[in-house]
Amino acid sequence: MVAINSAFKVGNEAAAIRVRHVVKQFDSPDGGVTPGALALNDVCLTVTAGELVCIVGPSGCGKSTLLRMIAGLNAPTSGEVAVGAELIQGPSAERGLVFQDPSLFPWLTVRGNIESGLVARGVLGRMRAEVDDFMRLVGLEGFANSFPHHLSGGMAQRVALARALINHPRVLLLDEPLGALDAFTRMRMQDEVLRLWQARGTTMLFVTHDIDEAIYVSDRIVVMTQRPGRIEQVIPVELERPRDRGSDAFLRLRGKILEIMHFAGQPMAGNRT
């Protein structure tokens, strides 16, 4: 709860995410006979305040695990994760999370879902006016009283974004948020995410398996490898926004990342353990 109060005096510097030598080993399924899977091995990553960083990598490379640890839902086996000066001990309203499945509460209306962050923190009475602002921000004013099962995938994900943003989190963690959408909706939603990011200045860490998406939205791309999950390379994206998905620079970067991932996928994996 201390963390929530301190959110009002966030300096820009405070919003940086720092991941230091994080190792995550899952409990072994057979009760200790064989060691559990090593999901992350010695991961170091720094995200500066207001940055939009994408993590790409093959499935099973521990991207989601890393994100859950920053959210405070899982604890690292060793190493430390900090947001600003504060070590992460557990989940908090300062670090919003959006999943691939919007996971809207089906028993609440669109408005109820967006409000839920305020209700959970017991500040709905004080901040009710914000709900309308956020519904407008994601363009869902007309759907306040609809239930989630009436919404399309893109709309549901916009509700999930508004729900995560209403607490004014310092950091927004996005776990393949557009993965389940069709290609056209996904491209529209990428612009939507960029618009929200530019409007609010929230630090965003965006996990995706779509390289085009990563190049289109992010300031930097973190490429991860599989088994155990490690950061292979961090690539800055120095293209002017709005980016042209067909430009030479875009395609060159795409080729470079594919090359890295391919190169990282086969001959190196055996040497790591």
Binding site: A71, W107, F147, A164, N167
Partner: protein, 347 residues
Amino acid sequence: MSTAINQISPAAPAISNSERRQRPAKPVATAGVHYRPQTLLAIPVGAAGSLAIHYLVPKSEAVPMSTFFPKLLCAMLGFGIVMALIYPFSTRVRKWMRHMCPILGMATLTTGAWELVTSGLGLLPLPYFPGPEAVIAAIIRDAGLIFDSTWHSLFLLLSGYAIGTCLALITGVIIGWFPHARYWGMPLLKVVGPIPATAWIPLAMVVAPSAMFSAVGLVALAVWFPVTMLTASGISNTRTSYLDVARTLGASRFYLIFRVAIPAAMPNIFIGLFMGLGTSFLTLVVAETVGVKSGLGWYISWAQGWAEYGKVYGALVIMAAFFSTIMTMLFKLRDRVLVWQKGTIKW
């Protein structure tokens, strides 16, 4: 998406066959009303048929002197004719009649068949199978006592059901949420729960200070088991992504239990409530028969003792109406609480 479609044409997805057939008629008030014989004639034909059986088939038994049954049939005939006359003038009446008339007509005709088999041809042994006249006469003549019994049953049922549900929600949430409570509570629930509540009657009679207390307790026990079981499983199967999201929104444990796990478990809880309602009807009737000397269960066994089977069937008719009304009310409540669910089970 579908909401947007709904807004464009509100009635579009909900058109049933009957409505579609009526559509071309809409612009002109009554000119194009479709007259279907099975809608207009079902009740009058059913009632007339039953009246014909009543007056034309000679009676094989010493018929009670009352004439309630033919009066009821005449009322039904009148009702059918009046409805058929209103038919062209109101869309709502048309819709209702299209749905209800065939079934009401068939029900009326069935009472005629019943009379034919019992008082008419005497195919079934007396006094176990009286005709409709005897049953209706029993209900009307004994209305006071039946009403009193119904009232007693209602009181026992509702108090037992309410107590059992409240306890079950508490124990179900505790067992479903806390792993320790689950470890210790689940085996008890699995071993003791499946014992039918009625099997506890000997113990209940000894322990409870009065027969009424024991009946309320047995009904409560009958409800408690299914509701606890379903609540606990609903709570412990709450999707983790709901809980994860709520945690990152700053939710306390209170919020996680009462605003996430319980709403998520609601569909399960209602299944438990329906199962519990069924077992509570059963337990109520048995408890009234053996313990409490009042209520519909008692009335039936008392009437049977006097071989007044007209009263037995009369009480069964009242019981059917009484229990199905309560069941319908629970369905209405469910539809209200679970409006957010996609599809609903029909009752």
